[in-house]
Symmetry: D2
Subunit: 440 residues, 4 copies
């Protein structure tokens, strides 16, 4: 049995001094605001599909979260900044009240972006005052900690969402100037061993962790081997060129059905860009674009020639599964993934300003590159206890029909890069930075 | 046979001096721009349903129309302002090329509103230069005239569209301050006679008219009687209170099917606002809102108590037909409508800044209030000749499955208020300012 | 002004002796039953799309019609054969009560076919008794007459529906052995003149006619020319080979949108059969099948090689319109059609047992071949009065969004082959025997 | 660690004498045929939704399975009974070829039921000849064994499918006369303990088992308690009466979304029958019918008053999950279920001719009553090896988005009642006999 270790070690939540918490709160809030500095008010309102939320909505919703779960609860005299915001910016908390329809978030032109910025200032200031005045209230500290991590999750969502939105503009605008070194070099794929036996899975440290990562519990694993790095664009292109998208034998039944739907959507498909422009029409991952006899990839840095050694991103579970089947391999379970990471000696990934996967460090084989699909359905660990109160809706009610992704992506907060972190999406979704790690 | 007369008399297009044309062009262009003066960039990008286009798109498309049909055709050295605009702002002209998907126009955050304003300046200036340099080219003059009328049509669409978009904001924002006098007084309904026999229908003057209003031709009409004014809110409320929306006997089969779809859409229905808030749940026209035991109506001047003597607007053909059936009456044909208007002596309606129906003049019984549904399907007059060239797609290809509306609404250009003008929409559509005139 | 004449002359309904009426009733009832003699119970229950009803349902519904409108009304002691039939076999009469969902008619396995046959015997017998006992009741006679024509309409529907159902069987079964002479010879197309002026339109005789054919009224027509025969398969194939289905310039906007939907449906499309099997994939009319480098056509006599001189059938309004546009021609209005037929001297078509268009007589240029699309939307004639009572739902409530077809098809009752008869379908529908007559 | 034991012990497949195998084959084939003895040809063709197949299709498909996987493979001279059957009756084996669209299986009126019966005779006879002539071929024996179990699975499906089909008939026909004793008495609910530690899960005996039950492998379980019996109708009714269907706090997010869809479907919903007839409109499980102030339940024995002590059936995963949450409990995992069954000493359930759950024996708490939802997503066991060849499509490709159900229902073959058997359905499906076992 391997010695468990969390990839990122943090202080116990209870031990963090209030001044530190206040400072982190302000930093994270400022960081969110800096993300929209290059966006116009029109950009900030884009909603390209129901799964996606406008940047402005993320800015407001994260403030609403602090307001609703902390200010309204712990400040007797608190009056909401604007009552209609409680309807507009409640995401899915039925315990709080009705919600503005999710698929219409792109229709909220008012409040304006600057009014939302004013809302943010108001909330941040009120939170700091509350933290000062009730410095010894652990319940508040815990909720602020949750709110910070919640906001960091929305920083990531804001980036994945705006990428999807800007992609619908035929000029393929760059969200941020391209600063990455090119091209990448080939990296060897090695197979890491997992020993048969019991492995402890789940978070057990003193820092912050979500309810769904707990409690830590033993899982019996069979002997297995896990790839040391992610699948590259070039490797996946070989699958495409071998007619992988045309051959049902590699695909899950649901995956093949999804694929036929995309084919009939034609130019409306999320796989749209390659349908009509390749010599022989084919499908390809979201954001791949075929132009002038060449493959390009849309990134937050704009449209770039596809780099064959760069990690593949934006495949869904069906594509990941079909690719693995094509090779006679499989995807790992979330337990295998966590067990093998616990064996590594990894340092915290550091931000490099890149918003597309790179391969500069061994660390980046696991974190800060692309989320990695596992075959594990998202469900409760034995003894799972949801967060208390209305925050209990945070994770638990989504435990059906979704798959766990492990690791973290190039746009994930580094504070979420821990071995026990569980991300989850539906099998058909690919707009997150999702990649493939193989197992056998 | 009655003496035909056009409600609005204009000079022959060919006779208009270029300086006058240039001046009118500039006025109309400026008028369009003034319409968005109260809108933010976020407002200007709203698209609440596929039928609706963002205000910014209207601003750009009307410029694209002049650029494509005049500048590209008649100025040898002309280079498009931006090639991608020819894809983004082409509405439906297959003869020109592919079009950006209509239902995604709300995703065009770039170009920005100010870039589009720059585009507008560029086009207006280039047009004025062309008109000066080729003052004696009647083909250009005719196309500029068409472009002016096209832009006036889009001024109206911009207003009907932004109304629909802002309605989706739970704060019911006013597009423009409310300046109208309240309340309205009751107006008597009289029945105007149409004589049996031949009536000449269609445009025959020297001014501008669309291809679909021509040629003028005789139509044999039976004896009939037409209401002297439109149906009011109060009259329609009596239909609602008599369970008109619950009784299939009044409805066309397609109308009843449409109604059942709306019922099952529940709060997603376009009839959403009244479903759950009335004492006994019922349906009601688009933009009616029931709050605190009272009916309100959303207008471009904001939410206002429903005025019982004001003309009803925003009903679709099915609602108009059911209301008439409930009374044992019917809607007029477009020929009856035009014949009876030719009998009136009407002056040109003048703009009063109101963006909701009023009843201040006899003229407003016919024009400048609400479009009036007729039972006439939109089709070609005998001998119909479409505009030449690509502009032939302007009207002809829409001649199926739509109904003709006559008159004009409170947001229609007064230059379109003529007895021969034919507007057309699908039977289920109600977001235009559409009302009911009865016949028997 | 031309001398009006109905193509088929009948005695006044009031004058028909009861014995004659009884005999005709029994003949028509028996004729319906003979239509299903080659069908198994499984065949008789097929429903391939919501528009289509199972043969068994037609057998039962026509009996329900007589039971509900006559027996329940005019026989005091009458008790329904089975109460649940009043729910199952009511087509669309809201005045009678709720209806079993139309799209689920294929799920009515009970009553069985033989129980339905028993129901038919029961109703026919009860009707004959009623006719004898109340021989002098003109209201009953009129309703029996209506019921006979109603049943004849359903004989035609039964055949068009079973054709659509059996087509979904990959063995392309023949409904009836093929007895027609082959191949057809070319027929010259001539242009028949319509004089400008008033023409009387609508039924005016003493025989039976539907409410929607009345009252007869004058219509002013412009000079026009109408084709003397229908478009052939060979002529339409030239349109296909000229990429008619790929070129939007020929199509109505709604038609082009319909076409794109069919393309994305792929093999699920009603145009399915030709999509993947032609050298260059194309679309083609419903029931055309491309196999082994050759075009075939599915008919009620089975799959047969496409005959180039045979009249084209099973195109919808969009296809008919696009074909006419491709030639620079147009379709006629229903008034032009009726006016030109009134000029002909035509005898009643006689049944020849063929269930596919033939060209053996001049008569067949107009009747007993294929319904002919007109550009006239289906609406009420001036002074239209619906049938009284619940039968008022028979025609009137369908007067929206449909197009009038004139003539009659190879499977229409010869008693419906009159110049004033108005059939009506939606523009996208093609499963009726619908063809093209050109005008200019 | 508990002592594993399979609920049903069988001889090793390899050891079964051919004569015994032949006899079992003939028995199972005859048993399938006896299931349709009360069905008309029309009944046998019903398909009420895409998930459901007609009884005739089940009869043919099970024959096609033997023909394709055995006769075509192991008899050199074998010619298919009818080539088109290979298209019509292939369920989902892409390795074999194209399939007739699943949702259109109700349109296969030809071949007739008697032709399909002839096909069955032909296949059974050919199989018996093959078994005799190649008595020592273990590959054939293994495939015949698989085919027998496959046919037994389709016997169950045939019954669940015909139940759904006949339910759509407003006369609620009984598939089979009702012979069960009434009413049931209350049974106490006890909690059975599972010890923390390793438990062996999966099939390991010598008899037949599906690939997805293997290999047997250790799973570490936490301490847990499992209910000794299923939830009853009366217990579930308390949930309904407590507004369980109106309160989002009990529901998974996907479940609540599914529920809203059902509400808007109204009378088209699968939950249709109770929507409009209860005093206060509510939802209720599939097959519950509210009539004359009383709850009824549709069963294969017809419509019967709801028995409050009878086990609840026909809830989907969302309903099962919401019910458990309402009580503050949860559903078991499939490992917990199997572990606790291994602790019982259970005999093979014997058929009693009932086609609705009963409670006559302790055995029936686990098997032969209702399938039991678990929180385990359907996925591969460590080291999973699919059946070889095309039969590899049997189970593996469905391992996404489905939930495992354990136990067996009142219409499952008793030969499938083993502790390792894994059934699987989508969370929204309820037409199988699916019930609830609680855990904590």
């Amino acid at each position: 049995m391997t010695k468990p270790s969390s990839a990122v070690m943090e202080l116990s939540v209870a031990e963090v001094p209030v001044a530190t918490l206040s400072k982190r709160l302000c930093q994270v809030r400022a960081q969110t605001e800096s993300l929209v500095s290059t966006l116009s008010e029109a950009d900030a309102q884009l909603q390209s599909m129901p799964d996606v939320s406008p940047a402005k909505w993320h800015l407001a919703h994260t403030s609403w979260f602090f307001e609703t779960f902390i200010l309204c609860e712990y400040r007797n005299d608190y009056r909401r900044f604007n009552d209609v915001y409680n309807y507009l910016f409640n995401s899915y908390y039925n315990g709080i009240g009705e919600q503005y329809p999710r698929h219409q978030r792109g229709l909220i032109s008012r409040p304006s972006l600057s009014e939302v910025m004013g809302y943010r200032q108001h909330i941040t200031k009120a939170l700091c005052q509350l933290l000062e005045s009730q410095a010894d209230n652990p319940a508040i500290n815990t909720l602020v900690e949750l709110g910070i991590h919640h906001e960091q999750q929305h920083q990531e969502l804001l980036l994945t969402d705006i990428k999807h939105c800007l992609f619908h503009n035929p000029s393929y605008p760059a969200f941020m100037p391209n600063t990455s070194a090119y091209p990448y070099s080939e990296q060897a794929l090695e197979w890491l061993d997992i020993e048969e036996g019991l492995h402890n899975i789940g978070y057990s440290g003193n820092g912050f962790a979500f309810d769904n990562e707990q409690p830590r519990h033993p899982v019996y694993l069979a002997k297995a081997r896990i790839a040391s790095r992610l699948v590259t664009n070039g490797e996946y292109l070989a699958f495409i060129n071998d007619k992988g998208y045309q051959n049902p034998e590699f695909w899950l039944a649901d995956g093949w059905a999804w694929l036929q739907t995309q084919v009939s959507l034609g130019s409306q498909s999320t796989l749209q860009s390659t349908l009509q422009s390749t010599p022989q029409p084919t499908l390809a991952p979201l954001y791949w674009v075929y132009q002038q006899d060449q493959w390009f990839e849309y990134t937050l840095h704009g449209l770039r020639p596809l780099d064959m050694h760069q990690p593949l991103v934006h495949v869904n579970y069906y594509e990941a599964s079909a690719y693995a089947n094509w090779l006679g391999l499989r995807l790992p379970t979330e337990y295998e993934w966590e067990a093998v990471v616990q064996q590594q000696s990894l340092s915290t990934p550091t931000a490099d300003g890149q918003m597309h996967p790179n391969q500069l460090s061994p660390q980046s084989a696991w974190f800060a590159t692309a989320w990695q699909w596992t075959t594990s359905a998202y469900s409760a660990y034995p003894g799972f206890t949801p967060f208390s109160g209305v925050a209990g809706e945070y994770n638990g009610k989504f435990m059906s029909n979704q798959y766990v992704l492990r690791g973290s992506s190039c746009v994930t907060s580094q504070h979420h890069a821990r071995s026990s972190y569980r991300n989850f999406f539906y099998a058909h979704q690919a707009w997150q930075f999702t990649g493939i790690r193989l197992a056998k």
